[in-house]
Symmetry: C2
Subunit: 357 residues, 2 copies
């Protein structure tokens, strides 16, 4: 009624060669004292038999499973694929598996998700916290992504610098009067981005910030943002805090007969997957996810591996990369152009929105 899990084990190899299991274990892990020739002999036999070490046995003995958990806020977050892919890649590169846990947008589910992971004996957890959530003190190493306000070890994109890069790009194209579009001023990420943008506006320039949620509270869901108005008043560029808002701006502009980038330049944030396939390609700024993931995973791994000896059940915090900030990368595409350019070669584009609002 059970399972002698198919593959060969240390015993098999040991028996086959005629030595003890301990020797085989030592040979393969390179730890004890084994003669060179015996080591190679064992190695050969091992992959002749196609030996795969049993994680269960290893885990039981060492207390380490080689698996880390990944807790995501809500998967509907369009950034999610990038994050998951990057984490999985970074983790598997150093031999860790990634257990998924989705907190489904629910704050309570987040701790519940963490518990599920702990019950699966993960060695550590990477958390991308839901906005406004605080990471509680759990009993294993944790790395937090992109919530710089959270205490403890965190790695985040440098949103401030990203904002600076966007505005520097626009300034370089000659733009002086900018409309900045955010959603909610209570988001630290958005605030960082907006802050970075403002910090690079020239003294002879001007920046007006539009907070969408506030506007919608007054004028209703999906209301126009009054962009045409601003253009008429001399604003020449619009910088949104997210690609989604940029897309919304784009439709509003076209509805008003304003073309991008001839009449006005437009930028987004995050480089969502469709940002490059849409025409014209959206100039935006992206997080260096591979790097962020690598830092997070490495920090976690070193915390885990340094954990030996620390038997305290309380949280062990990853030591390195306490608050690493990773620069963002500007992706220049077709929605930005020099101000008042007489005639661009780029195809004029009209994604003209109808109805709604």
């Amino acid at each position: 009624m059970a399972h002698p899990r198919p593959g060969p084990n240390l015993n098999k190899i040991a028996a086959e060669i005629g030595v003890s299991v301990a020797t085989v274990s030592n040979a393969l892990s390179g730890k004890g004292r084994v003669s060179a020739k015996l080591i190679t002999r064992i190695r050969d036999k091992a992959d002749e038999l196609g030996y795969v070490p049993s994680l269960a046995g290893y885990a039981l003995r060492t207390g380490r499973t080689g698996v880390i958990g990944l807790v995501l806020p809500d998967i509907s977050n369009p950034l999610f694929p990038q994050i998951a892919q990057a984490i999985e890649f970074a983790a598997s590169a150093i031999g860790y598996g990634v257990l998924l846990a989705d907190s489904r947008g629910d704050v309570a589910m987040q701790t519940e998700a963490v518990n599920r992971l702990i019950e699966k004996d993960v060695d550590g957890i990477v958390i991308v916290p839901r906005r406004g959530t605080r990471i509680v003190d759990i009993g294993c190493p944790v790395a937090v992504i992109d919530s710089p306000s959270t205490p403890g070890n965190t790695v985040a994109a440098d949103h401030w610098q990203g904002g600076q890069a966007v505005v520097e790009h626009l300034i370089g194209l000659g733009h002086r009067k900018l409309v900045l579009i955010g959603n909610n001023p209570s988001s630290t990420v958005q605030n960082d981005r907006i802050g970075g943008m403002r910090s690079r506006v020239r003294s002879d320039g001007q920046a007006e910030v539009l907070w969408i949620e506030r506007l919608e509270r007054e004028r209703g869901q999906g209301c126009p943002l009054g962009l045409a108005d601003r253009i008429a008043r001399g604003f020449t560029a619009i910088a949104a805090v997210s690609d989604l808002h940029a897309l919304r701006a784009l439709t509003e502009l076209h509805r008003a007969g304003i073309t991008v980038p001839e009449d006005v330049s437009l930028t987004g944030f995050d480089d969502l997957t469709w940002a490059s396939v849409v025409t014209p390609g959206l100039t935006t700024v992206r997080m260096d996810m591979p790097r962020i993931a690598e830092i997070a995973v490495r920090a976690l791994a070193s915390a885990i591996e340094g954990d030996r000896g620390n038997t305290s059940p309380r949280a062990t915090i990853a030591t390195s990369a306490e608050v690493a900030k990773v620069p963002m990368q500007l992706m220049v595409r077709q929605t930005t152009a020099p101000v008042a350019s007489p005639s661009r070669t780029t195809d004029p584009y009209t994604l003209e929105g109808k109805s709604l609002c």
Copy 2:
């Protein structure tokens, strides 16, 4: 130098109460013969101490880890979030964890990803195969999602029926001449969708299929699809095989001064996250991911749990749901409207046949 993993174990409970570990194990799992009062006494003690069973110990003994692997083609696939979320939800609902593995779009990486999972001792694997990949015979239960052509147990959205639903909707709105947009005829998914669509075109109607990849091979990457031309020739609706292609069509239409849905109706497929936020909201058709995931996971689970006794190292195929097909759901939004609606058309500009392509 190590790790006596913090929490209490069966031993602790046994010692505390004064019985043997076996009894505790039996009491908690409800298997052996233990008196009722002792059971409750043990139960109480267990959660008084906050007992969490060691997965490692369990796995070692039983050969089952309670973890399934999820292999995804390439995470950049915009459908990915929905899939991952649904699988994770379905799995965790019946106590399974989900180990992530991304094959990064590379066909070779797919089997490599599978191997990574097997080395982590997963009990089974859910695969969303890359287009054109065949699932090799691996040594554990497998459920395949959305590749109906693949032999073995598969659960897939009923793309054919989805196509039918789209066209039925358009027909109901009075449309007769349809342009169908696909990407690559070698994709069985796309073929199913197109096939379903054609099967519902009325005998007094007409459907012309545009294969994007073929067109681009002739006219170059990102070329116009000649939609305005078709509209001029009396086509009143465009149905794309994916939201992405629908979006592309939308931009092309607007560039030609054709408005949606007044001049022409447009539909997509998949209900990608942005499909509802874009204006006008895209009428599309979505997979019932929660249901698909549940079927896949359940099939896998029953294969795993039925595996006891089957000691063959060869693949064990999930028995139930051999080729389950799950209906798709039509999401009617703003890009479809009755044909030739007399009212709110701004003004029927006579379509200047801006001859493209």
